[in-house]
């Protein structure tokens, strides 16, 4: 198994599975193919874990960060695939509709695997762009006005963003052309970065950050992410908020770690802090205003991506990675539960909800625990990562940034809590449509959501030292 | 022990003297000196009419109030003779016992559900609250002056004219305590027991519904309260060196003067407007602060 699971094998297998998914016309075949894809993913993850830092394919290599993100991807991919089938069942979608969705899902996840594995900046770019295209199919899934609009905007702005990032890569090679570092692989760049012209490095980083921000979902190009998460089916929103964001992080973080070996590191840090702070500001502004639950969750992702950038900028890399991973799980659970919310209320609006505790007790539990996780309070792991990030920031020369960030976080906490609590408790005085109650099967469907949230608690506080150690290694890209 | 006896004796005739003074000054003969005692005895013998609205609180309150005053009496010394229950900082206990009596009487008033009694209760609460700072500042100042913190020790070293003690301070202290006594006993210028317009009464209106034994207890309590403050005032004048018989004479003399003063004030002064009362009581605190500063100067702690 180990030796067999070369990344090429994985990509070939994924391509075959995607192809078969498109032509498979029975439900069981679809499920079987999805399952086999998950197995493929899992075995790739295991394989990469056992062959860390070995260059297998020309431009593909796994380091601990890759494996960490792959593990997250495997888990969330499995949950999303499972949820996708249920979603189609509830909506009564045709099998061909589902088939396209599944194939795109497989494509999407595989492209992200590519992003995690690539060690060449151009290839990262290419995989990220490809993930946009596959994601477009998934966002478009519902085929209504909103999804058309969101998909158009998403693809267009992603394309522009990614073009900007490409300009950033070109600027990097301008910086590199003065030296011998013609190779744009991360290893070569890291080796040569300190000889490059700092001005060009700064410009290229700026363009790369601005371009990839659309993937990471932070300022400046976060808007279309919000729209996409709004329009996509909830399990796809979960993936966009987690694994795709992780891919954006992976790209930005690898670039950061290349550049941080040079003299511009303080500048890099302050740019990341600025970007993170602006993201949190934007999140705060919109969470105060938003009336749509799904967009609320999307804005919360913006906030957490901002926190991750702040953690990176202040040097709390471990906290950044931990927060990223924990947020992936927590936010996925919330988005999946949002799916139930929509089924019960037939609306995305927050004020359509109310008395969720009685209508869907198990789901209400997910909302509560998820809210705690997103608000980063004990006993959630996010508490630990956010605390580490903020305390590290407070210990740096930029500690006064915290004076801006912390009040904004408080505003977000207030607004989020207010809205979720109103969904849970506010008595419903609506017409019969909204009086529906959750069925037993819906209660059962919350089990994976609880499992995801359990991971958030477990990883934060009771994770075995080996796991923590591995995360530590993953967060330090170069010694 | 002597103190308690003195208080009880004084309580017997205090109200009588006040009333007698008032009637003489008003050109009447007035009731006998012990009319008050007769009234109480009569009340003790009588049955009672109680309101259907009221509860156990209403019935229990006079008892607690009486006991609180009684306990307060045990804290007062007689010159160098220690009090029955002397301890450090008994000043605090003294003030709080009076507060306890007030607390239960207010509750009893509210228990009747009468609008008038509510009004009286409310005023009683506020005036009682406002008067306390003055009391504590005065006794705190005296404590600074003497270095002692219980009534017994305090009065064993302090009296008007005693060596090194400024007359001024004692006079001011006496003035403040006198006023406190008037307020606590619901007398002019804060309250007027004579008034028969319920809206203007404080203490009297609170006990409108009490009758029989309970009313008797209340009357005993208020007499004792007077006597209590009377003895407190007398203590300023009890020279330690004097023999007991002289001390007794001084004590009764002070109390008789006190009672006559009360009577005189009530004859010549009109009651304050209700609105003015808080401000009036606050003046006492200001005077008390004045005493405090004088003491600081006197003990060389504050150099001007």
């Amino acid at each position: 198994m180990n030796t067999l699971m070369h990344p090429y094998v994985f990509f070939a297998g994924a391509a075959i599975i995607a192809g078969l998914l498109i032509i498979a016309r029975t439900m069981s075949a679809q499920i079987l193919l999805l399952a086999s894809y998950i197995v493929l993913l899992a075995s790739l993850t295991w394989h990469e874990f056992t062959t860390l830092n070995v260059i297998e394919a020309q431009y593909l290599k796994a380091d601990p960060l890759t494996v960490t993100l792959l593990s997250v991807l495997t888990i969330l991919g499995a949950v999303a695939a499972f949820q996708g089938v249920l979603y189609a069942k509830h909506r009564g979608d045709s099998i061909s509709h589902l088939a396209l969705h599944n194939a795109a899902l497989v494509g999407f996840l595989s492209m992200l695997v590519g992003v995690y594995l690539s060690r060449h900046i151009g290839l990262v770019w290419a995989f990220l762009e490809a993930s946009t295209l596959t994601a477009a199919v998934l966002i478009y899934h519902n085929r209504n006005r909103n999804s058309v609009e969101a998909t158009w905007k998403y693809v267009f702005v992603c394309s522009i963003g990614i073009a900007i990032a490409f300009a950033g890569i070109l600027f990097l090679s301008i910086a590199g052309s003065a030296t011998d570092a013609h190779d744009l692989s991360f290893e070569a760049l890291r080796a040569g970065a300190h000889t490059m012209d700092p001005t060009w490095l700064k410009i290229s980083f700026l363009f790369l950050l601005a371009g990839f921000s659309v993937k990471l979902g932070v300022v400046p190009l976060f808007n279309v992410d919000i729209d996409a998460k709004d329009a996509a089916p909830s399990h796809i929103s979960a993936l966009l908020s987690s694994v795709l964001m992780n891919a954006g992080f992976s790209a930005v973080y690898r670039i950061y770690s290349v550049y941080s070996g040079t003299s511009i590191r303080p500048w890099l840090n302050s740019v990341l802090l600025l970007c993170g702070t602006l993201s949190i500001l934007a999140a705060a502004v919109y969470i105060l205003k938003v009336k749509n639950l799904k967009r609320l969750l999307a804005y919360s992702s913006l906030e957490h991506a901002g926190i991750v950038l702040i953690a990176v900028g202040s040097g709390a890399w471990f906290a950044a990675l931990l927060h990223l991973v924990l947020h992936s799980f927590a936010k996925s659970a919330m988005f999946l539960q949002y799916g139930h919310y929509f089924r019960l209320t037939k609306s995305k609006k927050i004020n359509a909800g109310g008395d969720y505790l009685s209508a869907h007790p198990a789901g209400a539990g997910v909302f509560i625990v998820g809210l705690l996780a997103l608000c980063a309070v004990p006993p959630m792991g996010t508490f630990l990562s956010e605390m580490l990030a903020l305390t590290t920031l407070l210990g740096t020369a930029w500690w006064w940034w915290a004076l801006i960030i912390i009040p904004l976080l408080a505003v977000i906490l207030w607004a989020m809590t207010k809205r979720i609590v109103s969904i849970l408790y506010r008595p419903r005085h609506h017409t019969s449509v909204n009086g529906s109650r959750a069925t037993m099967s819906m209660a059962m469907e919350t089990i994976p959501q609880y499992a995801l949230l359990a991971v958030v608690i477990w990883l934060g506080f009771f994770a075995p030292p080996a796991v923590v150690d591995f995360l530590h290694r993953a967060s330090i890209l170069h010694p | 022990m002597i103190a308690l006896v003195v208080i009880l004796v004084v309580a017997l005739f205090f109200i009588g003297i006040v009333n007698r003074t008032k009637s003489l000054l008003g050109g009447r003969v007035g009731p006998g000196l012990f009319q008050h005692v007769h009234d109480v005895v009569r009340l003790f013998r009588k049955g009672a009419v109680i309101s259907t609205t009221s509860s156990i609180v209403f019935r229990l309150a006079p008892t607690i109030s009486f006991v609180a005053i009684l306990m307060a009496c045990t804290l007062i010394p007689f010159g160098t003779q220690p009090a029955l229950l002397p301890f450090q900082y008994d000043v605090v206990a003294f003030a709080y016992l009076l507060a306890l009596s007030r607390f239960v009487m207010i509750l009893a008033a509210l228990d009747t559900g009468s609008p008038f009694e509510g009004m009286g209760a409310n005023r009683e609460g506020i005036y009682g609250m406002l008067v306390e700072p003055a009391f504590f500042v005065v006794f705190g100042s005296l404590a600074i002056l003497t270095g002692h913190t219980s009534f017994t020790e305090l009065f064993s070293t302090l009296h008007v004219g005693s060596g090194g003690v400024s007359i001024l301070i004692s006079v001011l202290a006496v003035y403040v305590i006198l006023q406190i006594a008037m307020i606590e006993s619901s007398r002019l210028p804060i309250d007027d027991p004579k008034t028969h317009l319920e809206l203007t009464m404080i203490h009297e209106v609170m006990i409108l519904d009490h009758s029989g034994f309970d009313l008797g207890l209340i009357m005993v309590s208020s007499s004792m309260k007077f006597a209590l403050f009377g003895l407190l005032l007398a203590n300023f004048h009890l020279t330690p060196s004097a023999p007991l018989w002289l001390l007794l004479i001084i004590a009764f003399g002070v109390n008789i003067v006190f009672a006559m003063t009360v009577g005189a004030i009530e004859s010549f002064r009109a009651r304050n407007r209700m609105k003015r009362n808080p401000q009036f009581i606050l003046t006492l605190t200001s005077v008390a602060v004045l005493i405090y500063f004088s003491v600081l100067i006197l003990t060389n702690k504050l150099v001007l």
Partner: protein, 631 residues
């Protein structure tokens, strides 16, 4: 609901049992307990052990009451809700213990946040009502803002010292400016303790919480704010300046709290403001102790600490009694508005008796535990007055005047709570149909009251038992005459109670044969008196509020009758009690922040062309900032 909470109650009992044993051991032997769990060290010195006992007592009382209280809960609740409530209760109990046995800032912050969040979830219990929901959310927001103080302290200390254990905090404070670490921490603790002007969450939250939780929060949780102030005050070698600051804040809190308590119409809010007052007194006394340490006056210091310790105990027990009584009344009448109550003593005698006894206690009247706990505070105050320095002496005057004013105001507040709420005649139908809940609800109340009574008659015993705690706080032994004084006070209290009994018996004997007639209350000739002519909660407070108007905020909505109104229409008179600070400071601030943030909300216009612009704006901004050397 009841079953789930019973489980919680049992778990809470187990926690209490397990943690009390080491705590008692610490108190008896004087040896600190410490344990390594994971890589974290937990330590319980005598003060922690004392707090553990306080927490356990308070939690167990709340749990016992809660079981029965929830059994009478009228709303249908889902299993999730029950589990949430039970879990949060246990979590709160555990988190509070965690707070007092933490020995580094990380653990402290963790448990602190856990405490806030679990209590928030508990407050959510009645969140189906809009008011409760709003209150709960405001609560968590303010707690979160408060907790930031600990975060800031962690940031500064860990970056400078490489760790955050308390001993490193001490070193940090010694080697840097003390206030850098103390100020942020103090904000966190003051917020939790409800100190003026950070108290505004407290009344709303306590009113919104179910009664067993309000009792627990008020009796125990907010004390942990004081715990923090004491713990870190001592760590940073307290100076007279720190003491003075605490003293002044304590005075402001106490007076503000009790004056506002008088204004309240809501029974639970009244109790909550009274908790603000009591926290103020505790902090004032802490300040006094620090001042005494600064000027090296051991007697005053010990007296002040005794006051703190006794007051914590007394307030925990009495507030449990009072809030639980309020809970009974709420369940019986479905209202907390004093203006709708009255005459409860006839329909709910069991509850009202406890309310009465609790009211006596909380007003610190003789015969109650409140008196003995305020007594050492008076001692320290008067003794400070007698100190040689004029400025110190003045502080003594302030504290004594505060104590007596607070006592006087408390009498008004609680005669109002009891007199308007429970005595007189019923103002609406609600009190008439009410009845006492099952006797088991009153069991924990009597338990608490029994404890308080024990303190009242034997304060010396408690102080002796807690001499280790006092030694830990002051590093001094208790002077003998202080103990004697307290013993005398205790005896005096016992005598008072006994004499009341004797006189009552005598009165009974004397009046046994006398005829007793019953009739209507004397109406001064007016025969048609009914419940509506009684004094109300609003009118009873009116004259106090009038003289204290600068610190209260009671809005009156009433249109005066216009002489031109030929046929006056129906009129209404409505008053609303608000918190001055919340209404005049925090709310406008919050609204301002919200307005600014909302004004920024033009970015997500839906217009894609501007989205792309943002990328360039961002790049340009960073370039400009870089050129300006800001970044």
């Amino acid at each position: 609901m009841r079953l789930t909470f019973m489980v919680a109650c049992v778990v809470s009992l187990v926690i209490a049992f397990v943690t009390s044993i080491p705590a008692v051991t610490v108190l008896v032997t004087g040896m600190a307990w410490s344990a390594d769990i994971g890589s974290v060290t937990y330590v319980a010195d005598s003060f922690s052990a004392f707090m553990v006992l306080v927490i356990n007592t308070g939690s167990v009382l709340a749990a016992l009451y809660g079981v029965r209280y929830l059994a009478d809960d009228p709303d249908g609740r889902s299993l999730t809700e029950s589990i949430l409530h039970g879990t949060s209760f246990v979590a709160l109990h555990a988190a509070m213990i965690g707070v007092v046995i933490s020995s580094d800032l990380y653990s402290l912050f963790y448990f602190w946040e856990a405490m806030s969040i679990s209590s928030f979830l508990l407050v959510l219990f009645d969140a189906r009502q809009t008011k409760a929901r709003t209150a709960a959310i405001r609560y968590i927001l303010q707690m979160h803002i408060g907790a930031v103080g600990i975060l800031v302290a962690i940031g500064f200390v860990s970056s400078a010292m490489g760790g955050v254990t308390y001993s490193l905090v001490h070193d940090y404070a010694a080697s840097h400016q003390t206030w850098i670490v103390l100020l942020p921490l103090a904000v966190a603790f003051a917020m939790k303790a409800g100190l003026f002007p950070l108290h505004s969450w407290l009344p709303d939250t306590h009113a919104a919480a179910p009664s067993h939780v309000s009792g627990l929060m008020s009796g125990v949780m907010i004390k942990l704010g004081a715990y923090g102030l004491i713990r870190f005050g001592l760590l940073t070698d307290p100076s007279t300046e720190l003491g003075t600051v605490l003293l002044v804040i304590g005075i402001a809190t106490a007076l503000f709290g009790i004056v506002n308590a008088i204004g309240q119409r809501d029974l639970k809010k009244l109790l909550a403001y009274s908790s603000v007052e009591n926290m103020g007194l505790i902090v004032m006394s802490v300040g006094m102790a620090f001042i005494a340490r600064g000027i090296d006056a051991p007697y005053i210091e010990i007296a002040a600490w005794s006051g703190v310790v006794l007051h914590i105990l007394h307030h925990m027990l009495i507030k449990a009694v009072l809030f639980q009584s309020a809970g009974n009344i709420l369940h019986g009448t479905h209202t907390r508005d004093l203006n709708n109550l009255g005459g409860l003593i006839h329909t709910m005698p069991g509850t009202v008796n406890l309310l009465l006894l609790g009211g006596l206690g909380i007003s610190a009247l003789p015969g109650s535990s409140g008196f003995v706990s305020e007594f050492p505070m008076y001692i320290s105050g008067i003794k400070t007055m007698m100190m040689s320095s004029t400025s110190i002496s003045m502080l003594g005057v302030f504290s004594v005047v505060t104590l007596c004013l607070a006592g006087g105001f408390a009498i008004i507040a609680f005669t109002k709570a009891i007199g308007i709420g429970a005595l007189g005649t019923a103002r609406t139908k609600a009190p008439l149909t009410a009845h006492d809940p099952h006797w088991t609800t009153r069991f924990p109340q009597w338990l608490a009251f029994g404890g308080a009574l024990f303190i009242a008659v034997a304060p010396g015993m408690f102080i002796r038992a807690l001499s280790g705690v006092l030694y830990g706080l002051s590093e001094k032994h208790i002077p003998h005459d202080l103990l004697t004084t307290l013993d005398t006070v205790g005896i005096g209290q016992a005598v008072l109670i006994i004499v009341v009994g004797i006189v009552w018996l005598l009165r009974m004997l004397a009046t046994r044969t006398k005829p007793v007639a019953e009739g209507p209350t004397w109406g001064c000739g007016f025969q048609e008196g009914d419940a509506r002519i009684q004094y109300t909660a609003t009118t009873y407070a009116d004259s106090t509020i009038e003289i204290m108007s600068p610190v209260t905020d009671v809005s009156v909505s009433y249109r005066h009758i216009d002489p031109a109104d030929m046929f006056p229409r129906t009129r209404s008179y409505h008053t609303e009690e608000k918190d001055l600070i919340a209404n005049k400071v925090f709310d406008p601030l919050a609204i301002g922040v919200e307005r600014v943030l909302r004004a920024l909300a033009v970015l997500q216009s839906g217009n894609m062309r501007s989205y792309i612009l943002y990328a360039f704006v961002f790049i340009v901004v960073v370039v400009v900032l870089t050129l300006a050397e800001v970044l």
